[in-house]
């Protein structure tokens, strides 16, 4: 008995030593870049693509000697578990132990918002490449936090403009919303409802459905909505859940009866549901590579991405790749990797990205980037459907007016 316990004790001690040893080795590399994304749980799929985009960008940059040709970029990748408290802990760890100068984070807006003040306290750049809640930059702004993805306001506005046009054409009267019960789903739904009230005053919101984040059984929602016979349904359902919801709704013949315009269907879903996605649906996305194949940076990126990972890049890969390049150009403009100077350089800066020449807004560090709407249709060049008749809603057409941002900030105080 005693022997067993002693053995167990030593096994534990040795295990601890191994852990210490493994994490203790840290070569002092010049530019340490942290990545904290939700690698487990609901965010795993998008985050994995994001990491791939980042890795590719870093590889390309390091092949040319790193930032400014002399600072090799070293990546430190952590799992935020899509939980705010874990995200904060991991980012603190990245900052204090791995000495990162910038962190790309997160899949979940709730995590990004929790990380924002930490990055500000430690004076570390914080770039949001997947999470897109407007609140990340709108209220309590941090000069260290930048957002390279169209935020929830911009996306909702883009979707509403498109929907309002169709609604007015077809004389739609009633609609229902279904949105995942978390930050992104909530804010997108709220903004869209507000815009629709302005743009199509005849519309009335009949009911709101809030499936839990991570819901797998949508049957009751589907039949519930169908029973109410709305003219259309607006959805902001999160990634994995969106796939489940659409697959299940389809088997009920939902989309044959009820239009479902303007929901987020990214390149991930286009690939994943290539066979089953209903065609001719009008959808919205954030950074589809096929919309910018005329930009050499995008064509190169797609080529290299395909060579490395043997697949087409999703929006998340594009956005995260862009995040690294925005940072690179910030460093080049500042002519130093000193975070304070890079932060100042990036303020209001115009960057050259796969999505074209885009500028960060001075007021909130939000990249003035486009949202994309289009009709889902097959294309012989790709093994999955893409958007046809793409409408690119520019950042300038969809951003919240600066006066409203200032008002919101005043109200938050």
């Amino acid at each position: 008995m005693d022997f067993r316990k002693t053995a167990a004790f030593f096994v534990t001690v040795i295990a601890c030593i191994i852990f210490l040893g493994a994490s203790g080795v840290k070569a002092g590399e010049p530019y340490n870049l942290g990545v904290a994304l939700g690698l487990t749980g609901a965010g795993a799929l998008y985050s994995a693509d994001g990491v791939e985009g980042i890795k590719l960008a870093v590889e390309e940059i390091n092949a040319k000697g790193g930032f400014l040709g002399q600072h090799k970029v070293e990546l430190f990748i952590r799992d935020s578990q899509t939980k705010p408290d874990v995200g904060v802990r991991e980012v603190k760890d990245l900052i204090l132990r791995d000495k990162i100068r910038a962190v790309i984070n997160d899949y979940s807006s709730a995590v990004a918002m929790a990380v924002k003040p930490i990055a500000q306290e430690y004076k570390v750049l914080h770039i949001a490449s997947i999470s897109n809640s407007e609140n990340i930059t709108k209220i309590n702004p941090s000069p260290y936090t930048f957002q390279v993805v169209p935020n929830s306001y911009m996306q909702a506005k883009a979707a509403s403009v498109g929907i309002a046009k169709i609604a007015n054409q077809k004389g739609w009267k009633e609609y229902i919303t279904i949105a995942s019960d978390y930050e992104w789903g909530r804010s997108t739904q709220a903004e869209a409802v507000k815009f629709l009230k302005e743009l199509a005053p005849n519309l009335t919101l009949k009911k709101e459905f809030w499936p839990r984040l991570g819901e797998t059984q949508f049957t009751s929602y589907i039949t519930g909505i169908m029973a109410m016979k709305p003219d259309f349904v607006f959805g902001s359902v999160a990634s994995n859940d969106n796939v489940a919801w659409m697959e299940q709704a389809k088997t009920y013949g939902f989309f044959d009866k009820i239009p479902y315009p303007g929901s987020l269907i990214t390149v991930t879903e286009l690939q994943l549901q290539a066979k089953t996605l209903p065609r001719n649906m009008i959808a919205l996305t954030r950074a589809p590579f096929f919309a910018h194949m005329d930009n050499p940076m995008m064509t190169d990126f797609v080529k290299n991405y395909r060579a490395k990972y043997n697949k087409f890049p999703s929006d998340w890969a594009v956005l995260s790749y862009d995040a690294v390049y925005a940072l690179k150009q910030g460093v080049e403009k500042a002519k130093t990797i000193d975070t304070e100077k890079v932060k100042d350089a990036m303020k209001g800066m115009t960057v050259n990205l796969t999505r074209g020449k885009l500028a960060f807004r001075t007021i909130d560090n939000q990249l003035s980037c486009s949202s994309y709407m289009g009709t889902i249709a097959d294309d012989p060049r790709y093994p999955f459907p893409i958007y046809k008749e793409i409408v690119e809603v520019k950042g300038s057409e969809s951003e919240r007016p600066e006066s409203e941002i200032l008002e919101a900030r005043k109200a938050a105080k």
Partner: protein
């Protein structure tokens, strides 16, 4: 609300209840016989879904592949369950409650990561055969045609288990073991072997349920954490170890979910926990359980 939409909602609840029943049946069986609350049950359910995807993928060229992959998923999960029982679970039957919970919870963590290592983070989608891609209409109420199969499978599992417990020798032993292990052991019946097989059967049911779940929506990591809690609620409401209770419990949870979504969407989950807590307070052994062990 007209009668058709109420009926539609009832059907939705019925299908959801059936899926819950398939998950909870194994959970309840294992708890009833061995007194082990298996946190890893949903992880094995999810593994079953992934197994079924793999089998379907391998047999894509054959029309029977879709259907065959579901029981095969059950068998593959059962194999994992058997190994789990022989290596680990066997050692904790006589341990304290918290030790059992911690061990099965740890197994759930390990299995989730195993799934991630084996199948990656990409969602898996099973494309259904032509005949079950469209809805059917029952008295004007739409129903996903695959759910007819789901409900039939649920009924088959329920009646199969009932027959097994009522008419077979093993069933009698298992039922006796629910009431008094000591007595069964005294009769010279090898309890450890019975336990191994009951556990394996329970996990077979989990894997089978996973296989059934697979063609509904997509298969993703983390699906298991949500359903395990709901399955616990089902087992609590119905009563530990009672097959009938599990059936009734799942239907209650399924229907409550389905109708609260219609009338009070935000309250669906809250209401489930209120019911569970109320049952525990008034009748800790559940609607159909027997008050014996605490």
């Amino acid at each position: 609300m007209d009668i058709t939409s109420l009926f539609t909602q009832f059907l939705s609840g019925l299908t959801y209840g059936t899926i819950l029943f398939l998950v909870a049946a194994g959970l309840s069986l294992i708890f009833g016989v061995m007194n082990i609350l298996n946190f890893a049950h949903a992880a094995l359910w999810l593994m079953g879904a992934y197994f079924s995807y793999t089998f379907w993928n391998l047999m894509q060229d054959y029309s029977f592949g879709f259907w065959l992959s579901i029981p095969l998923a059950g068998l593959a999960a059962a194999a994992v369950g058997w190994v789990m029982e022989v290596v680990l679970i066997k050692r904790i039957y006589k341990r304290e409650l918290y030790e059992q919970l911690l061990i099965t919870y740890s197994i759930a963590l390990i299995l989730s990561d195993t799934i991630k290592l084996t199948w990656g983070v990409t969602n898996k989608l099973i494309v259904r055969p032509e005949i079950i891609q469209k809805p059917v209409f029952i008295f004007g109420a739409p129903l996903d045609s695959y759910f007819i199969f789901v409900i039939l499978a649920g009924a088959a599992v329920a009646s199969g288990l009932w027959w097994f417990l009522k008419y077979t020798r093993y069933g009698h032993i298992v039922k006796a073991a629910v009431h008094s292990r000591e007595m069964v052991a005294a009769l010279g019946i090898p309890i450890p072997r019975i336990y191994t097989w009951v556990f394996t059967l329970g996990i077979f049911l989990a894997g089978f349920a996973g296989g059934i779940q697979a063609p509904i929506g997509s298969i993703t990591l983390g699906m298991d954490t949500a359903i395990i809690i709901q399955a616990f609620c089902v087992v609590v409401i119905g009563g530990f170890g009672s097959l009938l209770g599990t059936l009734v419990g799942s239907l209650i949870v399924g229907e409550v979910m389905s109708f609260t979504i219609l009338f009070w969407p935000e309250g669906a989950m809250v209401l489930i926990f209120v019911i569970t807590a109320a049952i525990l307070i008034v009748r800790p052994w559940g609607l159909f359980g027997t008050p014996m062990r605490t």
